[in-house]
């Protein structure tokens, strides 16, 4: 068991440069021939937030202090989940030509897509910071604690991405349905509305069943309230993330040798 793990890690380190190059490629190609380049990665979430603030503030913002920060913090976490999972989903069939001709650990492609999305999330954090400065959020050292929920979300998304990537090789329906699932997930998560407008029953179950909420709530608590009162969310969030990672790794490892027959 220990030997096997050691060998796996060796393989991973052998291919880590490849993964970094693939991430670099994704970012490069995204902004090739654009004048503003990577600035779009900061600008996009800002503009996205601006539109939503204009549209939604009329309905939802009455009870939410600092609605712009509330919105963009939820939005960027959700956006990372959606982008990483949607890209990871297609990572195996998209690289079919290569996988049929040369041996590469297949998860490298899936992981590189998730990491590209993660780089995008880091850019969005700049946008978040700008909005926080603009709206005069009081600085506390709790701000730095947001790395915890972000790390948890990352682990969760790696697991989710691996699971979806493996599933999609055998059942391409997953690729079609996933767009709807993420849309539903957006509405089921208090991203642009306040959790308090939900019925008490839903409000009770939200922090227990919706992983995305666990991470978003933590970020908001850290930056807007400057508190760690809901530390249970951190514990539960970490637990759920590891569970998802385990599931993703397990399914991917069990099925990866059969991918080649279905792509």
């Amino acid at each position: 068991m220990g030997q096997k793990l050691k060998k796996r890690l060796q393989i991973f380190f052998r291919y880590k440069d490849l993964m970094m190059l693939l991430v670099e490629r994704d970012i490069k190609l995204r902004y090739r021939r654009s004048v503003l380049g990577w600035v779009w990665s900061v600008l996009n979430p800002l503009l996205d937030m601006l539109v939503k603030v204009i549209v939604f503030s009329y309905f939802f913002s009455r009870n939410i202090p600092n609605y712009p920060v509330y919105l963009i913090s939820g939005q960027l976490m959700y956006q990372f989940m959606r982008e990483s999972s949607t890209q990871a989903l297609r990572s195996i069939p998209d690289n079919a030509a290569m996988l049929k001709k040369i041996y590469v650990p297949k998860y490298i492609f899936t992981l590189s897509k998730i990491n590209s999305a993660f780089v995008n999330l880091l850019y969005s954090l700049v946008a978040l910071l700008l909005v926080m400065l603009f709206t005069h959020v009081k600085f506390t050292f709790w701000w730095f604690m947001i790395v915890i929920p972000i790390a948890e979300l990352y682990v969760f998304c790696v697991g989710l991405g691996l699971l979806l990537a493996a599933g999609n090789v055998f059942f391409r329906d997953i690729g079609n349905i996933w767009g709807v699932v993420t849309l539903a997930w957006m509405y089921l998560t208090p991203i642009f509305y306040d959790v308090d407008i939900l019925s008490p029953r839903v409000r009770l179950w939200m922090p227990r069943l919706n992983p995305l909420y666990m991470y978003i709530r933590q970020i908001r608590d850290f930056i807007l309230l400057g508190s760690w009162e809901r530390y249970m969310l951190t514990i539960r969030g970490g637990y759920v993330a590891l569970l998802m990672l385990g599931l993703g790794l397990f399914v991917f490892a069990k099925t990866k040798d059969k991918f080649i027959l279905y792509i």
């Binding site: 052998r14 291919y15 190059l21 693939l22 490629r25 190609l29 049929k100 059942f171 027959l261």
Partner: protein
């Protein structure tokens, strides 16, 4: 590991590869459920390789001959770990440079320069290693003037040149070549076969698939004749090739 084992580069033991027929490709849940109920899953199985035994020692050169669909490429993919055996065992000692299709990993939207790095890393090299060998690759491919051009604007010959240059930059323990020399102009083909001979004399083990019997004769001492996924005959090229040629008459 004993001394004797050290000398064996590739050992294929009673290996079989099974495919589902293409018509039976099930990739939607509904189809899967229907087939599951009707018990039609895995009904039309097809063995691309059956009970293959092969031992290749260091420095040997093996050719794989046979008709289209005999399983030559499948066997090469099995050895390069692209495919896993359904039954049996495949053991490989040493590094492999597979050339099943040159430039398989090229991204058409990236420039040649960017592709050289990605392609090298796909073969398991580090970025630093690629930097050190970059000039060498460019020189062999003779594409100095086109480095900043996206690969999609390359001709297939240029692409093959680049692919070959990257794949043979280091001396691998095992070189796998599958019909890749058909592209490229005469001058480049000559340089390719020179480089392959150079590697062979340096101790590299060669696995070679080609329909050109001339190439097979000049490059390979040993040959395997495959038909319908089984080995018909294996041994010295001078014995196997005439037998195969006779069967084609």
């Amino acid at each position: 590991m004993t001394m004797e084992n050290n000398d064996i580069m590739i050992r294929v033991e009673n290996a079989s590869v099974r495919f589902n027929m293409a018509s039976e490709k099930i990739d939607s849940l509904k189809e899967y459920a229907v087939k599951l109920v009707r018990r039609e899953l895995m009904f039309k199985e097809f063995f691309a390789l059956r009970n293959i035994d092969l031992t290749v020692r260091r420095g040997e050169s093996w050719a794989f001959v046979g008709r289209n669909g005999a399983g030559k490429s499948t066997l090469l993919k099995l050895i390069s770990r692209i495919l896993m055996p359904y039954e049996g065992k495949v053991t490989v000692n040493g590094s492999i440079a597979p050339m099943i299709e040159l430039g398989a990993g090229f991204d058409p939207n990236l420039t040649a320069e960017e592709n050289i790095f990605i392609n090298g890393c796909i073969m398991g090299h580090s970025k630093k290693f690629m930097q050190e060998h970059f000039d060498e690759i460019v020189e062999f491919a003779q594409l100095q003037d086109f480095l900043k051009m996206p690969i999609k604007n390359y001709s297939s010959g240029m692409r093959a040149r680049l692919g070959f240059a990257v794949a043979t930059m280091v001396k691998p323990d095992i070189l796998i070549v599958d019909e890749v020399l058909a592209v490229g102009d005469a001058a480049f083909r000559k340089r390719c076969s020179e480089r392959m001979k150079e590697m062979l004399s340096g101790g590299t083990t060669l696995l070679f698939v080609s329909h050109s019997h001339n190439d097979v004769r000049t490059l390979c001492k040993n040959a395997v004749w495959l038909d319908h996924g089984r080995i018909v005959q294996s041994g010295l090229t001078e014995d196997v090739l005439p037998a195969y040629e006779a069967s084609m008459q």
